[in-house]
């Protein structure tokens, strides 16, 4: 099955897909593998692996801190691919990766290696649809899905364009801002989800940026096909390790468990 198929499948379980994020190489090269395992055991539907980049301009302080640490630990792209390979037989893996890392490797070569490691999809926060060029086509040829971002500031016209290129899911950014924990679901997030879904061309829509409690995740679930949780989990990993993060994630899983009519199609 290609990346698009794996991602669609993950969203087709009749419940809101749970998509936890981890920074590859954080807290250590080995520790990140444990985090991935803990996520799978806690019931993750997709695992999002952040490929460390020196200048992560879409990320807030928590994830910035983890990526800086990971680079010091030696988390290079080869390691990230290896980490993905270890997880991808059990759960679909999506890379969160800044464009320069792809570009430095060579777009074609990178896509080939990603496909080979079982990476199902890519979120590239600094590659808006206008700059896709051949990227979407090349990714599709290698069976890797692309998951473009949609933002509160996106016009309807842009949302349509975003929906047209989304071969994975649409990554809906809950609020104008960077990644980070927020107390509650930002006002307007549900309305935004409705807008994005109306234009996503059938691609599932996952909400991310600032979801840091089971309550917020459950609230998002009334409209989102999936929820992405990053900063809160990375803080838990930092403070308590993989096990603590996994336990917390299980709680979110339970809050999201009830079946939802029509989910995912």
């Amino acid at each position: 099955m290609d990346g698009s198929g794996k991602i669609r499948e993950a969203f087709r379980k009749g419940r809101t897909a749970l998509i936890p994020y981890l920074t590859a190489g954080f807290p250590t090269l080995e520790g990140a593998r444990e985090v991935g395992e803990a996520y799978v055991e806690a019931g993750a539907d997709i695992v999002e692996i952040g490929v460390p980049f020196s200048d992560p301009l879409a990320d807030g302080p928590v994830i910035q801190g983890t990526t800086a640490r990971a680079i010091e630990e030696g988390a290079n792209l080869d390691y990230c691919l290896d980490l993905a390979r270890g997880l991808s037989s059990r759960v679909p893996v999506v890379f969160l990766i800044y464009y320069n890392v792809i570009f430095a490797r060579g777009v074609g070569r990178f896509l080939e290696e990603a496909a080979d490691a079982g990476v199902a999809g890519l979120v590239v926060p600094d590659l808006p649809v206008d700059e896709f060029g051949d990227f979407g086509r090349l990714a599709a040829e290698r069976g890797v899905a692309v998951c473009p971002l949609a933002a509160p500031t996106s016009t309807d016209e842009r949302l349509e364009k975003i929906g047209r290129v989304a071969t994975g899911f649409v990554y809906c950014v809950s609020v104008a801002g960077v990644t980070g924990e927020r107390e509650r679901l930002p006002e307007g997030a549900l309305a935004l989800l409705r807008r994005v879904k109306a234009k996503s061309g059938g691609a599932p829509v996952a909400l991310g940026f600032g979801i840091s409690s089971a309550e917020a995740a459950a609230e998002a679930a009334s409209e989102a096909d999936g929820v992405i949780i990053g900063s809160r989990l990375m803080r838990l990993v930092e403070e308590g390790g993989a096990r603590v993060a996994g336990e917390w994630l299980r709680g979110v899983r339970e809050a999201l468990a009830p079946e939802r009519a029509g989910a995912g199609d």
Binding site: R105, D126, P128, S154, R158, A176
Partner: protein, 403 residues
């Protein structure tokens, strides 16, 4: 993708293969809004009049083109002329762009201004125009730079701006840009980001270049007045590259004028500790644009080094990348040591303490003056004055001389 020699974009937002808009989706709307505003106002008579009159009365334009008699004699080559951007209000060319952009921000109804700064000159320029237009202003500055450029921190605060030290990454300009972009993503509705150089996502490189091109236009007029022709060469320092592109722009494609950009050679190109991204960088994407970037094989951006805080940026504006590839401008470098020597030389020979950035251009100008020979005319863009650098320079000179 062809581009005519004047550097006009053919594919929107690109200079040949360089440029573009590699930013989070959240910012696209703001960039489109900025582009529309710029298209609308750049030829609007009222806008042009306001910019022109403030350039004259507030900034002090046109800045002089001064004959550097003692350096001309000392070097025994071409006539050396200084384009005195150091005499512009706030002490550097940065004010040209900050002024243009505050006018745009005001017309777009933005109440809050953010900026990044390395050596502090762009921060001071932005704080200055924000004060003049009554806008809230936050300037991001690497922690390391807040220490080495303490004088400019004080100036910004006096002007009512908040200086936000950035402690992430290299704690210099690169990280200040990251932080400013993060702020902008978060406050995009009411905030305008005054980018300080010809970098960043489209349309910034073009807007900043256009506001800085006043330097080159004046050089053209003044050269004709003073020596009856175009200069034979124009030399300017290049960090991200705004003073250079401003001085070069009207002359791009004219075969009789050599355009020479001088990058920060730091401790020498071989040492790896420098800011020479055109010489040593590879094509990459940083801060929203595709250009030459100092990076590792894995695509991690490297820290740049220069004795001058204004030049230690690991990339260069996309238009410079294009000019280099097309052979429309030459790019060279000067080391920290060479820049320091030129800093001293210019101070003593001409009674002008130049910015350390500018000193890189002055160093290389000697070589060019000798190559050109007597009777030819060389313009050095004196991009800024060195008041901000005296403490750092004194320290570096004492170290050099073993004192």
């Amino acid at each position: 993708m062809q581009q005519k020699a004047g550097g006009e974009e053919v594919r929107a937002g690109y200079f040949g293969p360089y440029g573009g808009r590699y930013v989070p989706e959240t910012l696209i709307h703001a960039l489109e809004e900025l582009e529309e505003a710029y298209e609308r106002y750049r030829t609007d008579p009222e806008f042009v009049e306001e910019l022109d009159s403030l350039s004259r009365d507030f900034v002090g334009r046109p800045t002089p083109l001064m004959f550097a008699a003692r350096l001309t004699r000392a070097w025994g080559g071409a006539n050396v002329w200084f384009k005195r951007e150091d005499l512009a209000h706030t002490g550097a060319h940065k004010i040209n762009n900050a002024l243009g952009q505050i006018l745009l921000a005001d017309r777009m109804g933005k109440r809050r201004i953010i900026a990044e700064t390395g050596a502090g000159q762009h921060g001071v320029a932005t704080a200055t125009v924000a004060a003049m237009y009554g806008k809230e202003c936050v300037v991001y500055m690497g922690e390391k730079d807040t220490v080495r450029q303490r004088l400019n921190v004080v100036r910004m605060e006096l002007l009512g701006a908040k200086v936000a030290p950035v402690g992430s990454g290299s704690k210099t300009l690169k990280d200040a840009v990251n932080e400013a972009i993060r702020d902008w993503v978060t406050n995009v509705e009411d905030t305008h980001y005054i980018i300080g150089s010809v970098v960043g996502p489209a349309p910034y490189p073009r807007i900043v270049r256009d506001f800085q091109a006043v330097i080159g236009r004046e050089i053209e007029v003044q050269s004709r007045e003073r020596f009856g022709s175009d200069p034979d060469a124009i030399v300017a320092c290049v960090g991200a590259g705004s003073n250079a592109i401003g001085a070069f722009y009207p002359f791009i494609g004219r075969e009789n004028v050599r355009l020479i950009g001088v990058e920060a050679g730091g401790r020498g190109l071989a040492s790896g500790e420098h800011g020479a991204s055109l010489a040593e960088g590879r094509l990459g994407v940083l801060h929203g644009a595709k250009s030459y970037v100092l990076q590792t094989g894995d695509g991690q951006v490297r820290e740049a080094h220069s004795v001058s805080a204004g030049l230690d940026y690991p990339a260069t504006g996309p238009e410079h990348a294009y000019l280099k590839d097309e052979g429309l401008a030459e790019y060279v470098s000067a080391t920290d040591e060479e820049a320091l020597a030129a800093f001293e030389l210019c101070s003593r020979a001409e009674g002008i303490i130049p910015a350390l950035e500018t000193a890189h251009a002055i160093h290389y100008a000697e070589k060019v003056a000798k190559e050109l020979g007597p009777g030819k005319n060389l313009v050095v863009n004196l991009s800024g004055r060195g008041d901000k650098d005296v403490e750092e320079a004194a320290k570096a000179l004492a170290e050099r001389d073993g004192r």
